[in-house]
């Protein structure tokens, strides 16, 4: 019996996958559980295993091509059996000519007369299976507008590729984890400013990557529906820096960073302030026992937040080791979904780029994120005298639905107190 190989769901937010590499060729023997292909999901490159025995008869989605979840991508069967009925289920491939013009084919400049809103996308050749226009049920269109879901990123599951309610719900539950999920947001019709300059700038369009689209989708579910407010504090870091030097002098292999100390302090402070280590879930508020800290790591064309579980209970050397190991695998996109989801709070550090202070966007359903700036020597007044101290500015973004101003301020006060006197970590 020939069997279908379909695009599997390899991450919680995955909607489609790209074949990074086929590990078998057509005609190769395949046994159950053997890796068939490497698939780029929105977050990581994952191995897909064979779920049946036989010979890889037909590859329907080539390396570099994408397919939505559930689409037939290959057929496994016995060497000579007739697989035409299975193949006929494969979606008719859009001939390349029907596809959107390749970005490279776009003219590098346009005439000044071109209205800005068309910006190279002549009449938006929006994808649809057959008719060349996007088909959306009225309900799905309205839901997408209210939830800020980009219809162009969806594959319709209705007849003729019609995008229907369940497709929007699937998109929303993936970008969910977002507290309360469906915060209706009225969408203003887009208004385009007519450019005042005589000639508009030349430009080029590049397709957005999977991860870029997921980031975009998740972030608009944050700053839009999640009411942010921001608290900034300046922290004297001399003692923390001294502690770091001291520990690393004991054993240079430990390689503790200032950020590791910040993670530890934030985690301990979170456990002391349960109201902050919480998540707004619409009908209830979830309070976490441990502080699982998401650490923002920049990777090529995006970012990802691997999670240090129960950081409040781990030693600095454990935290340092884990962060280093997770960050390395994040950069090669080898993280497993459970390693980058489900934090209770996040830390984002741009100090290494010389950023003095910044605000970060909360990763729902977490209740907050701490944006950490650079540590720099500054003149400060101590005992009526100007002295030079290592100062660092942090800004905490809070979800106002669960954290109030004073709650957040008290938490930040604890963070400041502990970073300024890291001995608190051992008392």
């Amino acid at each position: 019996m020939a069997s279908k190989v379909i695009m599997p769901k390899l991450s919680p937010t995955m909607e489609e996958g790209q074949i990074a590499r086929w590990l078998k060729k057509e005609g190769d023997k395949v046994s159950m559980g053997e890796p068939l292909a490497e698939i780029d999901t929105d977050k990581a490159t994952m191995e897909m295993q064979a779920l049946s025995e036989g010979v890889l008869r037909k590859i329907l989605v080539q390396e570099g091509e994408s397919a939505p979840l559930g689409q037939l991508i290959a057929v496994v069967g016995t060497p000579d059996e007739d697989i035409s009925s299975l193949l006929s289920e494969a979606p008719a491939k859009a001939a390349p000519a029907e596809k959107q013009p390749e970005p490279a084919a776009q003219p590098a400049s346009r005439t000044p007369a071109a209205a800005p809103e068309t910006n190279g996308r002549q009449q938006a050749p929006q994808e649809s299976s057959q008719s060349g226009r996007m088909i959306v049920s009225p309900l799905a269109a309205r839901m997408a507008a209210e939830a800020g879901v980009d219809l162009k990123s969806l594959q319709g599951s209705g007849p003729g590729g019609r995008i229907i309610k369940r497709d929007i719900e699937a998109a929303m539950s993936q970008s969910k984890a977002a507290p309360g999920g469906t915060f209706p947001r009225s969408v203003e019709p887009l208004k385009f400013q007519q450019a005042q300059v005589a000639t508009a700038s030349p430009y080029r369009d590049e397709p957005s990557s999977e991860i870029r689209r997921v980031i975009a989708r998740r972030l608009v579910t944050s700053l839009g529906p999640v009411p942010h407010f921001f608290l900034t504090s300046e922290i004297e870091m001399d003692r923390a820096a001294e502690m770091r030097r001291g520990i690393n002098a004991l054993d240079p292999d430990l390689k503790i960073s200032i950020n590791d100390i910040i993670i530890k302090v934030v985690a301990v402070a979170l456990v002391q302030h349960p109201a902050v280590n919480a998540s707004f879930q619409d009908k209830f508020i979830r309070y976490y026992e441990h502080a699982d800290i998401g650490v923002a790591v920049a990777i090529e064309d995006g970012l990802i937040t691997p999670v240090v579980r129960a950081a409040d209970q781990k030693s600095l050397s454990q935290i340092a080791g884990e962060v280093r190991e997770l960050a390395e695998r994040a950069k090669t996109r080898k993280l497993k979904p459970e390693e980058y989801t489900g934090a209770t709070f996040s830390v984002s550090n741009l100090g290494m780029f010389g950023i003095d202070e910044f605000t970060a966007i909360i990763n729902p359903p977490e209740s907050g994120i701490l944006a950490v700036g650079a540590m720099t020597p500054k003149p400060v007044v101590r005992n009526d005298e100007v002295v030079v101290k290592q100062m660092m500015r942090v800004t905490m973004s809070c979800d106002h639905r669960v954290i109030d101003g004073a709650t957040g301020a008290k938490f930040l006060q604890t963070v400041k107190k502990m970073l300024e006197n890291p001995l608190y970590l051992v008392v």
Binding site: P138, A140, I164, K165
Partner: protein, 327 residues
């Protein structure tokens, strides 16, 4: 509450209203001595006498006009057609006299009359005697059109129709006279005209069904429940005035709708409901409105062909699965 047939429920309603208001009288072919062609008027001649329960000659246009005249001078006639197929002969009196008299007399003459009798598909009586013509009457301002599907609805709605001050077309489904159900004993039990009834609550698909289609829709909903689809079944009961609000509310909840009727699809009530849903709930639709109607042919005599024309449980299930994107 007693469990009785639709036939008995209608009989109770007429009897109670004859007893309650001496202006009410009943006339039609075979209603008195023969106890009614379908025995709906059984025993009424004995109880109320020949001045209140009157056999007429076979002259539909004549006795319909007589009823309109009686209503103009203050009586409250119930006019029975042996079936609504014969009301076609009386349409001038119904459409041009009864429906328009209040308007054309400048509000001087109410016409409190009920035209009632069986309608819709019967069993093997062929094209001229087996058809659903409610949409003709529902077309005209000035007429109310009622189509009950249960004994309780039949009784409560007929009593309201008799008490109503305007002409009411009251169509009983010919195949359903023997259907049983519980009916309240209260002699003042009435059901207001123009109010739909949610026969079954559900969340995934709304089925709007009336008359013969209600039990079929409910059976389909039972089977669909086993397939994991929760159907809401709405019986408008009155098709003019139509309780579109209840239908719209349901569509807003379920986002999908199937309209079932035994009549022809062209210019039918389903077409009207469909347009109203489009006008008022388009942004709530996840699938096109799906109509299930009688096949667009004169009713065949042959049993096998007749079965193909009248919508059945399987056709309703197929329509629901289509709008729920299950196939």
């Amino acid at each position: 509450m007693a469990t009785i047939t639709i036939r008995e429920a209608l009989n109770q309603a007429i009897r109670e209203e004859l007893a309650r208001d001496e202006r009410v009288f009943l006339m039609g072919e075979e209603v008195a001595a023969y106890n009614g062609a379908y025995k709906v008027t059984k025993g009424l001649l004995d109880e109320f006498g020949p001045k209140r329960v009157i056999d007429t000659p076979i002259t539909e246009l004549g006795f319909a006009g007589l009823g309109v005249g009686a209503a103009m001078v203050g009586l409250r006639p119930i006019v029975e057609f042996i079936t609504f197929n014969f009301s076609i002969l009386a349409t001038d009196q119904i459409v041009n006299s009864a429906a328009k008299m209040l308007y054309m007399s400048g509000g001087q003459y109410n016409i409190p009359i009920v035209f009632r009798g069986p309608g819709g598909s019967a069993y093997q009586v062929s094209s001229q005697h087996s058809q659903a013509i409610e949409s003709w009457f529902a077309y005209f301002p000035g007429l109310k059109v009622v189509m009950p599907s249960t004994p309780a609805d039949a009784k409560g709605l007929l009593k309201s129709a008799i008490r109503d001050d305007d002409p009411v077309i009251f169509i009983e489904q010919e195949r359903m006279y023997g259907n049983k159900g519980e009916v309240p004993d209260d002699p003042d039990f009435t059901i207001p005209l123009g109010v739909a009834d949610i026969k079954r609550e559900g969340t995934d698909v709304t089925i709007v069904a009336r008359s013969l289609m209600v039990p079929i829709a409910l059976k389909a909903a039972d089977k669909l429940q086993e397939q994991g689809v929760s159907c809401e079944v709405i019986d408008p009961r009155t098709i003019r005035p139509l309780d579109i609000d209840t239908i719209i509310e349901s569509v807003k909840k379920t986002n999908r709708v199937v309209l079932a009727e035994e009549s022809h699809p062209v210019c039918g009530i389903n077409a009207e409901i469909s347009a109203a849903i489009m006008e008022r709930a388009m942004d709530f639709l996840d699938a096109p409105v799906k109509r299930v109607s009688g096949i667009d042919v004169p009713m065949p005599y042959a049993k096998n062909l007749e079965d193909l024309v009248v919508p059945d449980v399987d056709r309703v299930i197929a329509a629901v699965r289509e709008v729920a994107y299950l196939d």
